[in-house]
Subunit: 157 residues, 4 copies
Amino acid sequence: MAVQVAVCGPAECTERDWDRAHETGRLLAGRGAVLICGGHGGVMAAAAAGARSAGGTVVGVLPAADRSAAGPDLTVVLPTGLGQARNNVIVNAADAVIVVGGSWGTLSELALAMRAGRAPVVQLGGWLVHDEDGRPVAGIVHATDPADALRATGLWD
Amino acid sequence: MAVQVAVCGPAECTERDWDRAHETGRLLAGRGAVLICGGHGGVMAAAAAGARSAGGTVVGVLPAADRSAAGPDLTVVLPTGLGQARNNVIVNAADAVIVVGGSWGTLSELALAMRAGRAPVVQLGGWLVHDEDGRPVAGIVHATDPADALRATGLWD
Amino acid sequence: MAVQVAVCGPAECTERDWDRAHETGRLLAGRGAVLICGGHGGVMAAAAAGARSAGGTVVGVLPAADRSAAGPDLTVVLPTGLGQARNNVIVNAADAVIVVGGSWGTLSELALAMRAGRAPVVQLGGWLVHDEDGRPVAGIVHATDPADALRATGLWD
Amino acid sequence: MAVQVAVCGPAECTERDWDRAHETGRLLAGRGAVLICGGHGGVMAAAAAGARSAGGTVVGVLPAADRSAAGPDLTVVLPTGLGQARNNVIVNAADAVIVVGGSWGTLSELALAMRAGRAPVVQLGGWLVHDEDGRPVAGIVHATDPADALRATGLWD
C-alpha cells in the first residue's frame, strides 16, 4: 500500500500558495505517494495538478454527494455527501498532512489532524494558533518550502 | 422550536473554564435554549450540569456509536458513531456557538462553525487564530463573561 | 437518561401507516420515551405529532445541514449535513427501532439497525427481506399494532 | 476521470459469492473502471483481488478511523471513521453498484443506492426485497453472471 499524504488549503488562494501546493503535489507524486485532497479549487486543484504532472494518483474527497464540483486532475473521486464532515475523512486517510495557506475550512482540517494525533502536520505558511498567553500552540512543524515540507513529514527518513 | 446553542470546549479543562461553562449552561437554560454539546467531560459536562441545574434540555452528540461515554446530565444522547466528524453535526445544530477554553477538538468546532457561516461564534477565553502577518483573523466575538457571551450571540436582542 | 426509540418510515405514506405511526408516537411519549425520527414528513411527521400530543420529547435528525425542512413537532432538531448517512445516526441513538411502512430509505435504516445488532427491530407492516431461497431473513419482530410493537421492543418488560 | 463501480457484499461469504466477486473485479479492471469497495474481507476482498489481478485501481472505504483492518489488495485506503455511515460514501462514489450475496450491511448499501437513485443497482444472487403483498420491489436488475452484471450496468453500451 502506498504512502498517502493530504494537502489541505483554501479553495481561493494566493499565487504563492498555488505555486507551493503545485510543487508539493509534484514532489509527493515523485516519491510514489498518493495525494489526498478536498477535490475543489485553489490549493486543492494546484496540488492535484502538480501530482498529475508527475504521473501521481490523486484522490478528491468532496463534500457534495455527486461529482459535479470535482476538479479536472483527480484520479479517484469520493463524493461523500458529508459536507464539511468530510474534512475528518481526509485527515483519517493521511500518513501526513501538509497545510498550505489559511482559511476556516483549512484550519478545521489542521485541528482535526492534531486532534487525531496519528499523522505529522506540516504547515507552509497559513494561519497560526496561539494559546491564551499569546504563545504558539506546540505540535505543528513549520516548513520553509515544499521540499522541506516533505522532509518534515518524516515519511522518507 | 426552541433556540439551540452549542457550548464547545476541552474534555480536560481548568477550574475557570469549568465555572464559565457551568454558568453559560445555566443562563442558556434560563432563556429556554436547548444546549447542544459533545456529551463528554470538562467544559461539555460543566455546561450540561449548569443547564440541568436550571431545568434545561441538554443534547449530547457523542463521537462513539454507543452511549457508554455519555455524561450524567444529558437529556438526549446522540451516539453518532462518526468520531470527530460529529463536530460538524454539533455546529450545524447551533443557532450560536459559544467556545470556552482551548484544545484541538475545540478549535476544529470553532473553525467548522466559522466555515459554515450560519451562526455567530463567541469565545470565552481559549485559543486565538492569527493570519500570516500576526493579526487576529476577523469574525469571532470575544466575550468577558457568560452573560456577555449570551448577549454577544445576538439571539435575544 | 430516558429510553430512546426510533420510529422510521417513508416520507410519503399511506393513511394506515400515518395512523399507526401517530399512535406509536403517542404511546412512546406516554411511557416517557424520547422519540428519535428523521424529522421530515409522512411516518416521521405522524410519529412526531403523536408524541407531541402526549407531551413527549421529539428529536428530528435531518439529512440537510440546516433546519429549513424540519417538521413542526420537533423538540430538538439535528441538521446533520450528512445526507442519508444520517440514517446510521438515528439507528445508533435508539434503544429500539420501530419501522412503519416501506421505502428504500426506510429499508436502509432497518438494515443498518440489524447490522449494528444493538437494539431490537420491530416492524409494523412494510417491506419484507427474503434470502436467496425465498425464506424470510431472521431477526426482525413483526407486530400487529402499535401497542404490540411497544411490547415487542422488550423495553418495558 | 475513470468510471467508478462499487462491488458490495458480505465480509463472510460463500465460495460461489467469492468466485463471482473475483470475476466481477477482474472484468471491471479490464474495462478500466476504478473499483470501490468496503475494504474488508469476503466479497470485498474477492473483488479487490480480482481487480488487482488485472492491474486495476481499488479503493477501500473503511468504517474504522485507521488502516489496521484494510485488505491486502487496496490501491487507496480511506479509513473514514464513520462506522457503517461509510456505506453511503461508497454508494455516492459509484456510477453503478453491483451487489454479490446478502447480509444486513450489504442490504443497507443496496437500499442507500436505490434511495439515492443516481446509479444502476445490479444483483448477483443475494437477498430479495418484497413489498407487503409479497411482490418484488421494482428497480433492481438481477444478473446471471459477472459478465451479465457489467452489461446490466449500462455503463459500456
